[in-house]
């Protein structure tokens, strides 16, 4: 096997981890609250700026900056729900999608206002690992491992805790759970906070690999949606599988042609799969 192709496959695998994490967050929100946060990737952008500002600007130690960034984005998630989603929870679903689209505009412009359009980097240079002839980026490896840990932690949270069970129950039947005495508003708030925290965690992992700029959400956003929809909106395991398929297409496609064309391939496949398997690749 071609060594560069192997490298592309491994890079795709590592990218898939972070995509899977972000898709989990978005899927959780969709499954539980039944809302598509179009601005989800822009929350990730906010998290990346938080890391940059705390670490490079204020000189906080990196782990502390990471924790703070996760907390900040979690709070942002709660704010999004309270300020934007909650007032229009009863109106047409497309309105909620559009309202978070307004948020996308706001966050991108606000970031431009505060940080300018320059590409910023936190300037942490992690080593490159050599395995035989293979070169693997340590930052990507960490991102992959942490993303997997995050996903597993979420899984146990949803399975083993009372509130996790309530979240899963709400995702299955919104109306009945109210009658069972579950406080829906509280569940929504917790879900939004977790969704935000996952975006924050994703932001930390991406900040290690990529420069941050106000419009980075436009790069990752459509990818995350694609992954979620491919897996079946609300279907977390499907999203997990889909993220690795998408990341492989992008990585291997990029190896054979150009980065843009590999994205074109992925998006085209997405459109086609929407017609063949509209409820997701793992749908029965």
């Amino acid at each position: 096997m071609d060594i560069f192709l192997l490298e592309a496959v491994i890079n795709g695998l590592l990218l898939g981890g972070v995509l899977a994490l972000l898709a989990l967050g978005l899927n959780l929100i969709f499954g539980v609250i039944d809302v598509v946060w179009i601005a989800y990737a822009d929350l990730v952008m906010c998290g990346m700026y938080a890391v940059f500002w705390l670490y490079s600007g204020l000189g906080w130690p990196l782990p502390l900056a990471f924790l703070a960034a996760i907390a900040i984005v979690a709070v942002l998630g709660v704010l999004v729900h309270v300020l934007i989603i909650a007032p229009i929870l009863g109106s047409a679903p497309i309105n909620q999608l559009l309202a978070t689209g307004g948020l996308l505009y706001f966050l991108q412009s606000f970031a431009t206002l505060v940080f300018g359009t320059d590409f910023r980097n936190i300037g942490v240079r992690l080593p490159i690992i050599e395995v035989g002839d293979l070169f693997i980026s340590f930052a990507r490896l960490i991102a992959f491992v942490v993303a997997l840990i995050g996903a597993v932690a979420l899984y146990f949270f949803l399975r083993r805790t009372y509130i996790g069970t309530a979240i899963r129950a709400i995702a299955q039947d919104r109306d009945i759970m109210g009658l069972m005495g579950v406080d829906q508003r509280r569940i929504y708030l917790v879900t939004s906070a977790i969704g935000g925290a996952l975006a924050g965690l994703g932001a930390c992992l991406l900040a290690l690999q990529y420069d941050v700029h106000p419009f980075i959400g436009n790069t990752f956003g459509p990818l995350i949606f694609m992954v979620c929809v491919l897996g079946g909106l609300g279907n977390m395991i499907g999203g997990f599988v889909a993220s690795f398929i998408v990341s492989q297409i992008i990585s291997i496609g990029g190896y054979y042609s150009s980065v843009e064309l590999s994205y074109v391939m992925a998006f085209t496949l997405f459109i086609v799969l929407m017609f063949i398997r509209p409820r997701g690749i793992l749908a029965p």
């Binding site: 047409a92 559009l98 309202a99 307004g102 412009s109 206002l113 106000p214 994205y263 074109v264 998006f267």
Partner: protein, 328 residues
């Protein structure tokens, strides 16, 4: 009576460039072209078919004539119809399976979002001929009908005005046609509409193709006017969302709503730009973003909806007074 007012209004609009300074004319042309494109989007949007990918049609409309002109020397008189045809083809390829297989709501929005990305990234990927993210300029030949290039803004003003009026006519045509009731039934409940014998796929496809064709046309003239194409400014998510939001802010359920949206957003961004100066890049859009959220939450029918509601209330009050006067 109202026809005479409309004619007077149009005459005034035609005469406007004679008395308007260049900067305002530039804004007017943009407002009319955007108004036309927003109207085209709202043709679908008002029935609940929310497309987040109209930047795709605009990008095709802008790039195809420019590429044909630069590399083949083909006049935009042929290039623009080709671009419109290509936009329609794209709409068929994506729209037909969507409607046939009942891809609706979120899913339809996300499919169109992906379509927008496909066109945007294809333009960027073909950087050998399109200049990629750096953009491209059409070969300039000065004043020429053959190349559809006019350094004087007056010509484009008239073109934009005609396009915009044409867009309004199409709106009226759909609004008064038989298809409108079918589309309203579909937007209420697709299954029920199909059950009473409405060909859901055909009706949706028809309005989508018209919308795509007009958006492509608008994109083409936008490119001819600006003489500089950049994938981010004529295609992609940014443009697609701009179209959606301006139409919503103006009011997508009224004929003039999208136009109101075009003037409103342009006045807002220009006003804020002048107010804040160049030092605060993004300030205008930050406020715009907040306004959009507020619009969607509190005024989903937009400015035009607000005006209409106020107007109706006024008329009701007047009618009540008239009715009560003879009695008293």
């Amino acid at each position: 009576m109202s026809a005479r007012i409309a004619l007077l209004g149009i005459a005034a609009l035609v005469a406007l460039p004679l008395v308007t300074p260049g900067y305002f004319l530039h804004l007017l042309i943009q407002a009319l072209l955007w108004g036309f494109i927003y109207t085209a989007w709202a043709l679908m949007g008002r029935f609940g078919f929310v497309s987040l990918g109209h930047g795709a049609f605009m990008g095709v409309g802008a790039y195809v004539p420019a590429l044909l002109w630069n590399y083949e020397g083909l006049t935009p008189w042929i290039g623009i119809p080709l671009a419109v045809a290509l936009s329609v083809l794209l709409a068929v390829v994506v729209g037909y399976p969507c409607f046939r297989l009942r891809v609706v709501g979120h899913y339809f929005a996300l499919v169109t979002l992906a379509l927008g990305q496909v066109v945007l990234l294809t333009i960027v990927a073909a950087r050998d001929i399109t200049g990629g993210s750096l953009g491209m300029t059409q070969k300039a030949v000065g004043h020429s009908w053959y190349a559809l290039q006019f350094p004087e803004k007056g010509y484009f003003y008239i073109i934009a005005l005609l396009l915009w009026l044409g867009g309004l006519l199409v709106w009226r045509w759909i609004d008064t046609g038989i298809g409108r009731e079918a589309l309203e039934a579909i937007s209420e409940d697709e299954e029920a509409a199909a059950a009473i014998g409405i060909d859901v796929t055909r009706e949706k496809l028809r309005v989508t193709l018209i919308s795509a064709a007009l958006t492509g046309l608008g994109g083409a003239f936008f490119g001819q006017y600006l003489m500089y194409l950049n994938p981010e400014t004529v295609s992609g998510i940014g443009v697609s969302l701009q179209i959606v939001f301006a139409a919503i802010a103006g009011g997508m359920y009224a004929m003039l709503g999208p136009t109101v949206g075009a003037f409103f957003t342009l006045a807002l961004t220009e006003g804020l730009r002048v107010w804040f100066g160049a030092n605060f890049v993004g300030a205008a859009n930050t406020i715009y973003g907040v306004l959009l959220i507020l619009f969607v939450i509190f005024m989903p029918r937009g400015i035009a909806g607000l005006i209409e509601a106020g107007w109706r209330r006024n008329r009701a009050v007047t009618a009540m007074r008239q009715r009560s006067t003879p009695a008293a």
